[in-house]
Amino acid sequence: MKNLLTLSLLVMSQSLMAATLTVESNSSIQDVVKQAEDGDTILVEPGLYHQSVYIDQQNITIRGLQVDGRFAVLDGKMELNDGIIAGGHGAVIDGFHIKGYKGNGIMTQGSNNFKILNNFVEGAFYGIFPQYGKNGLVQGNTVTGAEDAGIYVGMSDNIDVLDNIAYGNVMGIELENCRNSLMANNNVYGNTAGLVVTLIPGLPVKTASDLVLRNNTVKENNLDNFAPASSIAATVPAGIGIMVVGVDNVIIKDNDIEGNANLAIGSFDLVSFGVGGDPKLDPYVDGLQIYNNKYVNNGTSPRGILADMIAMSGMDGVEILDTGKARKSCLIKQKGLVTLGLDNFSKCGDYDKTNYETAQLSTPIESPVYTAQQKGRLTYLAVCTGCHSYNSVLHGPSMQSIQALYGRDTVTLAAYITSPVRKHKDFPEMPQQDYLGEKTINAISNYILNELEQ
């Protein structure tokens, strides 16, 4: 009894101690973030902020206020790489207008129990990109103009992606190497491909499975692919409503799929899609279930590679396609629905009638405190790889050349990262990274010079 009372008092005192900090209009968000402690709330007044923001405290809520129709707008002006990055667990990022960033609009890296809510993100390579997270929610956001995916959930488990709007992206919403996650009640239209679930080779997570895509509106995703020519997103064919690539146990049900010129639903194995090559993963689709969807005017004007693929069969008006290699899969075929490659699909019999309200866990998941070394790696992946690859020039010099230049001098490298000075006219100017904070920059510097590819 005494222990219970002590615990209750401790919890109460912690919540009482949580502060609310306010960022005054047009001032530095990062300066206020630096003052925040675990559990605090940061309110950002409407205004224009040309900044990148990095949060690595735990359980921080950062909320853009809306007053008289004015929003907190983060504008990278195509000079900065990332809008808001959260490395701490329990992050809540809510209510911002984010535009003009070259890399990520909003990113969480290794953050569990996160919530990304009610943001409007324009442009960027990835609009909203939670990665390596567990138990999260992406809800009520609008994303547009992403050169890869508007919402891109990577290598995460137990994630709900609900009630978002995605238009004008290469992929509207993508789950990559995710497990036990849900896409529901989203409205995706005018993208190259609407909803995409993938198993990408070579990544640390070698499976993708148990995903439910239900009650989404997926309309007219026929936008020409505008991803950079050499990126994997450039292989996404235009005109697909819902695309499954190598993922197991996907349920596609109760969706409204209309006006997608190539296909309502396309199911591909990695080999046929041309992204094989990881022997540790199974590249074939297993356990796909498709039922109770509404199909209107899909597959009416196939183009590009899918047109050629469908033409090989001599059919037209194909609405659902599989490369013929999906296993243990089923379909309830509505009258008039034209399919190709689904001969080995059975009729879904006793399919699971669960409504799949949520994939999130009932209680927050345990969230380990990351070591400095882990933070260095996570932030390197989130921030540095946007412009640097290891053994080649991407935008900035290769990491191999940086290692050769600095040797083991982590102090000088950290100083440079904090306040870079343009050294070669052949490279663009590197944005200041001081927003990451001294501890994180030291961790990154140590990772680059003492660990990376050593």
Binding site: P237, K280, G324, G341, Q374, L394
Partner: protein, 283 residues
């Protein structure tokens, strides 16, 4: 010059040397009008070069300086191959290897630096060329034709002429006559993975672990052991994984010129697991 390019062809860890070999081969072949064997060997050198180049491309994102350089080399190899084929096609009526090599050229030259649409369009053409070559000589290219045809049947979508059962049958026939062909076994593994036949996959992994690799190209062994070992890892065959890992690591340690093919991170993807620091693709 011929012996030079033959020697350079084997140095698969060095894209520059293999590239030089491909150029030497081309120049030697171009100096002769009627030496069809020389021309086909030169074409084979280009195909070998494509496969070496292909492994140098980054896994996920091919932009930047490296991707551009590789594309330039790829285009040059393509041009040489096209010229060699043009020089060789007059011999097609008597030499079935011409059609077979053209098929393989279509398949290898479209692995990279090629629009997906073009890749797809070449597959049935490659299939038909190889089919015809096999009808003329069932052992064309010392059994390689049979191997390639099997792979095509397994990999092609069913509505594009793919036939998994036939492909696997062809693989088994090929294995019967080439029991020590490690690359064949690796491709068969992929075929049985497509079928979902774990039992046969495990048998093939055991077969692979017993193949004598002492006469094989060391870079090929390093690469194939990574592939087969990865598949063994997925199937839980830890003894096999240990075998492939040990042999591979010994090769890499004793032959520092060999490439380990470790992938690195780009654009927020790939590289080591940031939580554990481990390479997720190592055996």
């Amino acid at each position: 010059m011929e012996s030079t390019f033959e020697s350079l062809q084997t140095q698969k860890w060095d894209v520059d040397k293999v590239g030089c070999g491909a150029v030497y081969a081309y120049e030697a072949a171009s100096q002769s009008t009627f030496d069809i064997e020389l021309k086909l060997n030169a074409l084979g050198a280009q195909l070998n070069y494509f496969l070496v180049l292909e492994k140098r491309y980054p896994a996920l994102y091919e932009a930047g300086e490296l991707g551009q350089k590789l594309n330039l080399r790829w285009d040059a190899a393509r041009a040489r191959s096209e010229n060699l084929l043009a020089q060789s096609e007059k011999f097609d009526f008597i030499v079935p290897e011409v059609g077979a090599l053209k098929s393989i050229y279509l398949l290898t030259s479209t692995l990279k630096n090629t629009a997906m649409k073009k890749q797809l369009q070449t597959l049935p053409v490659a299939r038909d060329l190889m089919k015809e070559a096999l009808e003329r000589d069932s052992q064309v290219l010392d059994g390689l034709g049979h191997h390639v045809m099997a792979k095509l049947y397994v990999d092609l979508p069913v509505f594009a002429g793919g036939n998994q059962a036939l492909g696997l049958e062809m693989y088994e026939t090929a294995l019967a006559s080439q029991p020590n062909n490690l690359e064949l076994v690796a491709d068969m593994l992929a075929g049985y993975l497509a079928k979902g036949d774990e039992k046969r996959q495990k048998e093939l992994i055991t077969i692979a672990s017993k193949i004598d690799t002492s006469t094989l190209n060391k870079q090929d062994v390093v690469d194939l052991y990574k592939t087969i070992g990865g598949m063994a890892s997925r199937l839980g065959q830890q003894d096999a994984v240990e075998h492939f890992r040990t042999v591979r690591e010994n090769l890499l340690e004793n032959n520092p010129q060999l490439l380990s093919r470790k992938a690195t991170a780009v654009l927020g993807h790939g590289g080591n697991d940031p939580i554990t620091g481990e390479d997720p693709n190592k055996l």
